[in-house]
């Protein structure tokens, strides 16, 4: 048994799915001990009710103007304050832009062990182990934290999403934190929102990804149409980004995002090892490529050898028919 604290992951003022995935994991890990979740931000108190009935005994809300945008120093202080109050044995954060920055700061401050980007876990308390991929997904390790607070960052779309309704909506605890100049050693001056405002790529259930084979930016419109019909998001290879067909925020792979959708449709992507690093754990992989020898077919559950400019629109039409 261990008390577990989850840091809610938000984007553009909304709770992300991974937050609920973490709450599900927290209940299993706590195994009867207390589970808490913390909301850090400005005007986030209202989100406490959206956490609904997912198994948190307490919701720690730190609502402050200094937390409006992610800032390393203020978020660090807010989280350390909540940790001090709740005293968890296990701390879960998302392996997202925020979690990746926040977790190691807090780990260092508390002298804690951290396991990054976990895809699954087993056991509880002393026997808690985490699984993470290494060497860009070419191997996995099972690890545990020897002593003290165990921190893990969680890869979205990998842990089971709980159904809710467990009879614990959680009591809200407002935590006040006073910030000092030292907490504002770095300042966010401006945010240029580039990423698409649609479906969140790392959380999408369907990803339609384009590579150099898409030929130009207008080719990506075809992929968007397919993604729209499937309620999915568009991603890309680095080849497509380098060629200027799309923004780097769409890049999937070793140096881009790691995605684990139910369905990944790779269009005009050769399947370089660095690309596979970002998508090989997808549940079902479909490849559309005009070269029958393309390595992506080795990784795929289904393949179509053909010109994507012809195949993708037909597929869009076919799904429209099926999904009416």
């Amino acid at each position: 048994m261990a008390k577990v604290l989850v840091v809610a992951d938000m984007r553009r003022g909304k709770l992300r799915n991974v937050t609920f995935e973490m709450l599900g994991a927290a209940s299993a890990i706590a195994n009867g001990d207390a589970v808490a979740i913390t909301l850090l931000g400005k005007n986030v108190a209202g989100l406490a009710k959206d956490l609904g009935d997912f198994g948190a005994d307490a919701v720690y809300v730190v609502d402050a103007p200094e937390l409006e945008n992610y800032n390393s120093g203020t978020y660090r202080k807010a989280l350390l304050t909540v940790i001090d109050q709740f005293n968890p044995g296990v701390l879960l954060l998302a392996h997202s832009a925020i979690g990746r920055d926040l977790a190691p700061m807090v780990a260092a401050r508390l002298g804690a062990g951290q396991v990054s980007d976990i895809t699954s876990f087993e056991g509880t308390g002393e026997n808690l182990t985490f699984v993470r991929s290494i060497y860009a997904g070419k191997a996995f390790t099972k690890v545990s934290v020897k002593q003290g607070l165990a921190i893990a960052t969680v890869r979205p779309n990998n842990l089971t999403l709980p159904a809710g309704g467990v009879g614990k909506p959680g009591t809200v605890q407002n935590v006040s934190v006073s910030f000092e100049p030292a907490d504002l050693a770095t300042l966010v001056k401006e945010i240029m929102a580039k990423a698409n405002q649609g479906v969140d790529l790392t959380e999408a259930k369907v990803v339609v990804a384009g590579g150099r084979g898409v030929k130009d930016a207008s080719g990506f419109t075809l992929l968007e149409q397919l993604a729209d019909v499937l309620g999915g998001a568009v991603g890309s290879s680095r080849g497509a980004c380098d060629a200027g067909y799309c923004d780097y925020s769409l890049q999937i792979g070793q140096t881009g995002k790691v995605v684990t959708p139910d369905l990944y449709i790779a269009c005009g992507i050769s399947g370089a090892i660095q690309h596979l690093a970002g998508m090989s754990n997808s549940k079902v992989i479909v490849a559309i490529n005009k070269d029958p020898e393309a390595p992506i077919f080795q990784m795929s559950d289904y393949g179509i050898v053909g010109d994507l400019l012809e195949v993708v629109p037909r597929l869009t039409e076919e799904f429209k028919k099926i999904l009416v």
Binding site: D101, P104, T141, I191, V206, I273, Q274, I304, F319
Partner: protein, 255 residues
């Protein structure tokens, strides 16, 4: 300006992973500078060229790291420190303590590092290092501007770009897109062998047994199940497309 770069040598990203007695086999593997650290080296050199200064590489790892260090020296870094005493090796907790112990013995204004090591790395060491040194950091930089002691960094936040400012000393971690690393020149390669490389052992550093013990136990390392070759659908395009859509809808239930 004194610029330090934290540099790790990693497997070339193309390398196949082979396990031997539960450990990743290193024989015959091609090693490279961790790609993110290569961006950090390049950025350090650009800042030095603009503002003058000294670029020092700091590494903790086995003697084979010297090859990566020599490459970075050939790119233009001035000197290097390598902690190649096995007593210093460990998990992210330990490596960041060791790097901090090495770094706090010398002058620094700016520390550049990668945001992640592409082998068994986990994107912790550089941020932990900043905390160990008690200085701020900005992670995932795609652009760095230094003016006097002020820095302005563009950072990648899941595709959005944040413009973040701060004051030196600080740690900045490199993200893809920061720059295009240069190749070492012939003159650079010749000079590199004469540049100072200092070896550090556990006796040279103030570290406790607790610092060196680490926090993580690796219980098991294994390879993913090989994926069975999938089904390539063939025939008339209309039929193929229908077959695929049906399979995804009815059999796989992912649509």
């Amino acid at each position: 300006m004194n610029i330090l770069v934290c540099l790790k040598q990693t497997f070339d990203t193309e390398e196949r992973i082979v396990l031997e007695n539960g450990h990743v086999k290193e024989d015959g593997v091609r090693f490279v500078i961790n790609p993110y650290d290569e961006y950090a080296v390049e950025e350090a050199l650009r800042i030095k060229e603009e503002h003058d200064g000294q670029v020092t590489l700091v590494s903790v790892g086995p003697t084979r790291f010297e090859e990566a260090i020599r490459t970075a020296l050939a790119m233009g870094a001035d000197e290097a420190v390598l902690g190649d005493d096995p007593a210093l090796f460990g998990d992210e907790f330990t490596i960041s303590k060791v790097l901090a112990a090495i770094i706090s013995q010398r002058p620094y204004d700016l520390i550049l590092a990668g945001n992640q090591a592409v082998d068994d790395g986990s994107g912790q060491v550089s941020v932990r290092l900043a905390e160990e040194l008690g200085i701020p950091h900005i992670s995932m930089a795609t652009k760095v501007e230094v003016e006097g002691n002020k820095v302005t960094v563009h950072r990648d936040a899941e595709g959005d770009t944040e413009i973040v400012t701060g004051v030196l000393p600080m740690v900045i971690t490199a993200q893809q897109g920061l720059n295009e690393p240069r190749y070492p020149s012939l003159i650079g390669i010749r000079k590199a062998s004469k540049k100072p490389l200092t070896h550090v052992t556990v006796q040279d550093l103030k570290l406790s047994a607790e610092d060196l013990a680490g926090r993580i136990n690796v219980l098991e390392t294994y390879l993913p199940k090989p994926k069975e070759a999938g089904r390539v659908l063939s025939g008339e395009l209309t039929d193929v497309v229908r077959e695929l859509a049906e399979a995804l809808h009815t059999t796989e239930k992912v649509v």
